[in-house]
């Protein structure tokens, strides 16, 4: 079974993120980056599936050469090979989905797993577009019934389950108010939610092996995708700073303020 996963490079939420004064973007200096946590879950899930059913895991990232750091991380976790789509500059979700579509057509995986969204733009669109462009089944927000401290999780059992005839996939999805289970036929696109698994650490031997695993370079031009954005971000701004609190004299004053100023009830 061949699985393709994504590894987007995103800002590490632990570093201080500042918007540029002119609102044209964020200040890149001094920032740390990491693999999008949802994608990391996708990589983990793919590794578990490929361990259970034998097969390769191909990891894709789009961006400047900096994304090699995230590709190497996924390779260190255990992915077999990496594809780097070399591109500098902004991309919208449509363009990303188109690029991934071409990579998928080239790699011909049985399954694509990607994060339901990335923690920088929080768009939640690429997986859905990709399934549509490919004409494949899709299952979003994959999760699982077992808890993250269960034995199944400790034994690294995959949450996505192949059907008995190996032609379909059973996916537990996180939906408002609970979980729903659906079955889809392969090939399919699955997007991951947070409770699907706990990603492993890149092991030390893994980090050393990653060095000699191949990273194939592609470009939007080679994939014949027009990446001119149809959607542009015109301005970014920080959320307004919280105002200082005030002290109220007594409970009736509090109720009065809640009612008339905060309009809480």
């Amino acid at each position: 079974m061949k699985i393709l996963v994504t590894a987007k490079r995103v800002e590490d939420p632990e570093s201080k993120i500042k918007v540029k004064p002119d609102g044209s973007g964020i200040v890149p200096e001094g920032l740390k980056y990491k693999i999008n946590p949802f994608d990391e879950i996708a990589v983990e899930e793919a590794l578990r599936l490929s361990a259970a059913h034998t097969g390769d895991v191909v990891v894709v990232s789009i961006g400047t050469k900096d994304v090699h750091e995230q590709l190497r991380h996924a390779l260190a976790m255990g992915a077999t090979k990496a594809v780097w789509v070399n591109h500098t500059g902004a991309l919208d979700q449509l363009a990303i989905a188109r690029l991934l579509q071409k990579v998928v057509e080239k790699e011909k995986p049985d399954l694509v797993i990607l994060g339901k969204q990335s923690i920088d733009d929080d768009q939640n669109q690429v997986g859905q577009y990709l399934a549509e462009f490919l004409g494949w089944s899709q299952a979003t927000f994959a999760s699982k019934v077992e808890a993250l401290d269960s034995d199944a999780e400790k034994n690294k059992q995959p949450g996505l389950k192949l059907t008995a005839d190996k032609k379909g996939l059973t996916v537990v999805r996180e939906v408002d108010g609970g979980l729903s289970t659906l079955e889809c036929s392969l090939p399919a696109v699955v997007t991951t939610d947070l409770r699907l698994n706990q990603p492993r650490y890149a092991s030390l031997p893994g980090i050393m092996k990653a060095k000699s695993k191949p990273i194939e370079e592609l470009t939007p031009a080679a994939l014949a995708v027009d990446v001119a954005p149809k959607l542009t971000v015109t301005k970014l701004s920080s959320p307004p700073a919280r105002k200082a609190g005030i002290k109220v004299a007594d409970v009736p004053a509090l109720v009065e303020k809640l009612k008339n100023e905060a309009k809480a009830f």
């Binding site: 200040v27 190497r72 991380h73 650490y201 890149a202 092991s203 030390l204 980090i207």
Partner: protein, 614 residues
């Protein structure tokens, strides 16, 4: 006891800087380190730090509060330790520098010490278990027979089995040579072991399937003292011919100690052979080499203890710094009596800044000292068999610096952790914050693996004069070469010159030591040994901080104004200048104290110490 939140913090930027300060890129990629480069080092540090914070850090306070228990003769470790042990070995961080022959990654020691800093810093008590297992395995790999290597090392390195070092006995602490444990050779070539060992870290636990004890014992009719000690492999469970765990080997846990700190680490009293059924194998094939074998492990363990000190002090500093940015108290010192002025973060107060800058400087300087030592170990490996002279120089520096790393790293750690409490004020004294535990944990570092005085006597009694004094002289000429090269530095020149004065002061005391040792003032040698070690360490740290500052200045000069890395380089220069102005001059004053030849501690009669009986 539930598992808590992580408090561990490390400044990865400084770790990376120090790697380059001592030429990691030059060492990596060469000879045995062919597979390594700066990118791999960064990836390893990043992932180890993440592991340290996510897995080990949350167990630090809970492990301390819960402690270990002895249940039906077996040690039960705190909640979460077993899971952390499994995850640690899955990720393989413990075998970063282990030779590929034994399933490791063969990384340079420079990287190994920083990985250890991260693991120890997040949870020193936990890290003792894998740390000792690793040390014991490396000893067997180096000193054992081929069969012993096959039988033990791999399992001890991959976490299937644990390991310990058993030296201490009730009457043999610092004086290891008076150990009474006995070994009687059996017809099958094994030895019947009997005796009691105390204070054995990880002497029993529930993390691994078996525990391999390395036990110092005396074979019948062997000479007295350290010369007559042999080292034995004594498993908790006998090992079957196929390598599986067999019947118990008559090793029992009599009790576990109740301690001030590192409470997650079980400190055990072990009885060997109470029923006459305990069997051990001699490490290697020759008896009475126990101490020299044990020293292989002890040299590494002494470095590891200095590292524990560095690691704990570093997170104490970073936590105190965070707190100082947050806690508001008093007005800025310029208007300290004016109640109408705004209350400021305590970081604005000069005395708090002084405490924090001292912590920063000592932490960074200790880190540099440890990594320098590790770099010399790497160079030994690179030059061995190719350039004997260079290899000997590097080995000489390793020998010379080991007692400094152990003693300076541990003494300063406890002092700095206590100072971190001072930065917090009353909050620091509470269990709500991590620094009181750091302080309790840090106290053991200056005691086990040889007390500070044992290190100091190793320095003045052995290391200064080793190779006819060549190692010490080589160190001193490295310092003076640095001074010569940079004495005209526009901003650091004056500070760099002060190293010259300190060097002379240290030399004078070293000469005086030699004189005292051959005179009737011989008591002045032990009386000044700790002082000499401290002077030497301060000179070394002052030098390495200034070396870092020179390099940081060069890096900063290449960056555009406003670059986000500039404050880091500014900080490196601030550490060096503070240390050069406030600590390095203490070397000269200490030399005056030493040369005053005060013998009052040995002159005062026992009765004069106090008028209490007994």
């Amino acid at each position: 006891m539930s598992v808590g939140i992580n408090r561990y913090q490390a400044d990865l930027k400084d770790l990376s800087f120090v790697l380059e300060q001592f030429g990691f890129s030059g060492i990596a990629g060469q000879g045995p380190f062919a597979g390594w480069g700066p990118d791999e080092a960064q990836a390893v540090l990043k992932e180890t730090y993440r592991f340290a914070r996510e897995v080990l850090g949350p167990l630090n306070a809970s492990g301390d509060r819960e402690g270990c228990k002895l249940v039906d003769g077996q040690v039960v470790t705190p909640k979460g330790f077993k899971d952390a042990w499994t995850k640690l070995y899955e990720a393989g961080f413990k075998s970063v520098s282990v030779s590929p022959d034994h399933g490791g990654q063969g990384a340079p020691q420079m990287l190994y010490v920083l990985v250890e800093e991260l693991l120890s810093g997040a949870n020193p008590a936990f890290n003792m278990y894998p740390g000792l297992s690793w040390g014991a395995a490396e000893l067997i790999a180096e000193c054992g027979t081929e069969a012993q290597r096959k039988r033990y090392t791999e399992k001890m390195l991959n976490g299937t089995w644990g390991g310990t070092m058993c030296l201490t006995e009730p009457h043999a602490g610092s004086d290891v040579g008076s150990a009474k444990s006995k070994a009687i050779k059996q017809a099958d070539g094994t030895y019947a072991i009997s005796g009691t060992k105390i204070f054995i870290s990880g002497g029993d636990h529930d993390l691994a399937k078996n525990i391999i004890h390395l036990v110092l014992a005396r074979v019948e009719n062997a000479p007295a003292g350290t010369k007559g000690l042999s080292l034995f492999i004594v498993p908790k469970l006998k090992v079957n011919a196929d390598g599986s765990e067999g019947a118990p080997n008559d090793v029992s846990v009599a009790s576990i100690e109740h301690k001030m700190g590192i409470n997650g680490s079980a400190t055990c009293v072990l009885n060997f052979g109470e029923n006459g059924n305990c069997r051990g194998e001699l490490v290697g094939t020759v008896e009475n080499l126990g101490m020299s074998h044990m020293f292989k492990m002890m040299n590494g363990a002494r470095i590891a203890v200095g590292l524990q000190g560095l690691a704990t002090a570093s997170t104490a500093y970073l936590n105190a710094l965070s707190y100082a940015k947050d806690r508001k108290q008093g007005a800025n010192f310029k208007f300290f009596k004016d109640p109408s002025k705004p209350r400021v973060a305590i970081l604005e107060h000069p005395d708090v800044r002084r405490m924090l800058l001292e912590m920063k400087a000592v932490v960074e300087g200790t880190r540099a000292l440890v990594v320098k030592l590790a770099a010399h170990r790497d160079q030994v490996l690179l030059y061995q068999g190719k350039d004997d002279e260079k290899a000997a120089y590097h080995q000489g520096q390793v020998d010379l610096l080991t007692p400094l790393v152990k003693a300076y790293g541990s003494e300063e750690s406890f002092r700095l952790c206590a100072q971190a409490i001072q930065v917090y004020g009353g909050a620091g004294f509470l269990k709500d914050w991590p620094v009181e535990q750091y302080t309790r944990d840090a106290k053991i570092y200056s005691i086990y693996e040889g007390t500070t005085h044992i290190q100091s006597m190793d320095l003045v009694g052995r290391k200064l004069g080793q190779n006819g004094g060549a190692n010490f002289q080589a160190f001193m000429s490295d310092v003076s070469a640095f001074v010569e090269k940079h004495r005209a530095h526009p901003t650091l020149g004056k500070a760099i010159e002060s190293l010259g004065t300190a060097s002379e002061a240290l030399m004078q005391v070293a000469m005086a030591m030699l004189g005292w040792s051959q005179s009737d003032k011989v008591a002045l040698v032990p009386l000044n040994a700790n002082r000499t070690l401290m002077m030497f360490s301060q000179l070394a740290v002052g030098w390495l901080l200034l070396d870092a500052a020179v390099k940081a200045g060069e890096k900063a000069a290449a960056l555009p104004k406003g670059h986000a890395d500039l404050p880091f380089y500014e900080g490196k220069q601030a550490s060096a200048l503070w240390y050069a102005r406030n600590v390095v001059p203490q070397v000269e004053s200490a030399s005056k104290l030493a040369l005053a030849e005060d013998e009052s501690p040995v002159q005062i009669s026992d009765a004069a110490f106090a008028s209490v009986d007994a």
